[in-house]
Amino acid sequence: MTDTLFVTFLIGLIGATLRVATPLIFATIGELYTERAGILNLGIEGIMFLGAFMGFAIAAQASQAGLPGYLWLGLLGAIAAGVVMGLLMGFFSVTLGVNQHVAGLGITLLSIGLSLFGFRLVFGESSVLPSIQPFAQYSLFGDLPVLGPIFRQYLLTYVAFIILIPLAWWILYRTNLGLQVRVVGENPEAADAAGVNVYRVRYLALALGGALMAVGGAFLSLAQLGAFTPGIVAGRGWICIALVIFAKWDPIRAMWGALLFGGVFALQLRLQTLGLQLPFEALLALPYIVTIIALAIAGRNVAYPGAYLKPYRRE
């Protein structure tokens, strides 16, 4: 009896882990590409927030207008907003070449401010939290016995694991574009000498990264919650910053990191609903502490992209 309970618990936990990891995977891959091109985008937390807001706001309006594909319209809107913010980050970090930490935080603060302002503008100050019918969960492999809950997922979760991760790996290591991104991030002078347009590749990486970060945020409002709240992102962007380093800038390792964190998060959520009195915060702080310890152990051997944080000036 306890065995079947445990199996049910475990199966449910694995399913939840995949769900929690999904937004992290989108945003982490986005940040990974940006950093591989030599730019640290601390705008990630804000861009996820903006993605969550834009996705929800557009989907809610379209849903009221009776459009059937309202969730996909929301997702498109989120992507557009993410691209715009990525390009804005590019203007500051690539064209002007100012301090990337401060510019990135500026993008985060601006995105969060604009989202909250926009939320009040669109939905007013009603006491009822507006909500929409979110994306449905279903199994791509039909209804399986016992293992069912693992495969009953959002389409975006399938996209993250089956399409995004392999594609991100393949583009980065097996295509000309990926090579350009890596060279621009390692040695922009050499890239320039080889005829690669450093500015264009960096802008491209930032736009792509911004789009993925926004999808990560939109997953929260359009799939998991069906609503938008000010605490919706709650530091997930900073987790992704940690995951990129933890993954040593590699997409496959990033997936394992996201799963590890997703597992820890899902576990504490489940234990909490069971009514256990544990300091769950210790579990939640774990991924941050592990990353810091990993950094400390790797020490001087952390292989940051060669041109990390360095603006490129063509003299």
Binding site: A103, L110, A282
Partner: protein, 353 residues
Amino acid sequence: MGLKIERVPAPLWVRPFIPVAAVLATFLLTASLVILVRANPLEAYYYFLIDPLSSRVSAIEVLVKATPLLLTGAAITFAFIGGYWNIGAEGQLYAGATAATAIGIQMQNVSPWLALPLMIVGGFLAGVLWALIPALMKVKLAIDEVVTTLLLNSVALFCVSALLNGPWRNPISQWPQSPEIAAAAIFPRLIPRSRLHLGFLLAVIVIIVLWFVLIRTAFGLRMRAVGLSSEAARFAGIHVERTMLISALVSGGIAGLAGVSEVAGIHYHLIDAISPGYGYTGIIVATLGTLNAWGVALAALFIGLIDTGAQTVSRALGVPSYLGDVIQATLLLVTLGMLLLQSYRIRRQERTV
């Protein structure tokens, strides 16, 4: 005759005008949002900038709002000048607030003359301690401090949350809220029947000390040298690691003081929302203040004014108060971009051909 742009440092008199120009540009940019709500931008900016100063109560409120920003702005400035990119002021603030609460609760039947200095010193040290790990990793292992200080912000929030849901949880209401600090530990009011408290005086003293250290001491000179170029500073015989370590730790300590001031001056207990991001706003203040003590003071007052004004605008014109946040973020980005102007000069050029 033509005009030519050269990459030469602009004359010194240009510098103070850059933040002023940035403020004007920011208001022009954000006016579109005011128009979107069908309000008059000029009217909105009247409520943002003039109205809070027109009554004594709201003018004092500006100083109250500026208090934590003066401290976090000074903290960030102290680190950034020394070439240490401390993004962790938020976490250091929470460390200071936690220490202040822990000490303040114990101060029953103690003279304020003992309680207040203990809390201030304790909060400072807690901030230093929270800044210690990333600072050591930076100077001993050359590990980028941006990510480590940033991640420790989240860890600090989890620690506070664990305390508030654990040992400090209110046993009756079950709210995640610490017990009240003792009466002796509460910062006295500077003006009776107002919210202005000792923390403001503390912040002013910190700003004066900041100015003195940066401009009038050999250590300030060494800090600036390290911040401009650590290689050149090392060549000049400056102990780069020690200088950077001190500026990182003192920065953490000052941010800790912001936490002390909010607990002892405003809330009297610890909650997890004690800072709405003062550590990050400190970066806006330091940038807008061009990393200069008086500039930081003006910038903190200005942001305090916008924070107060945002509430007024929201009440008077129905513009969402989040416009204040948008203005602050835009101001940061615009200032950051416009500060580049100080490395250029426009020269008249005689045509020689």
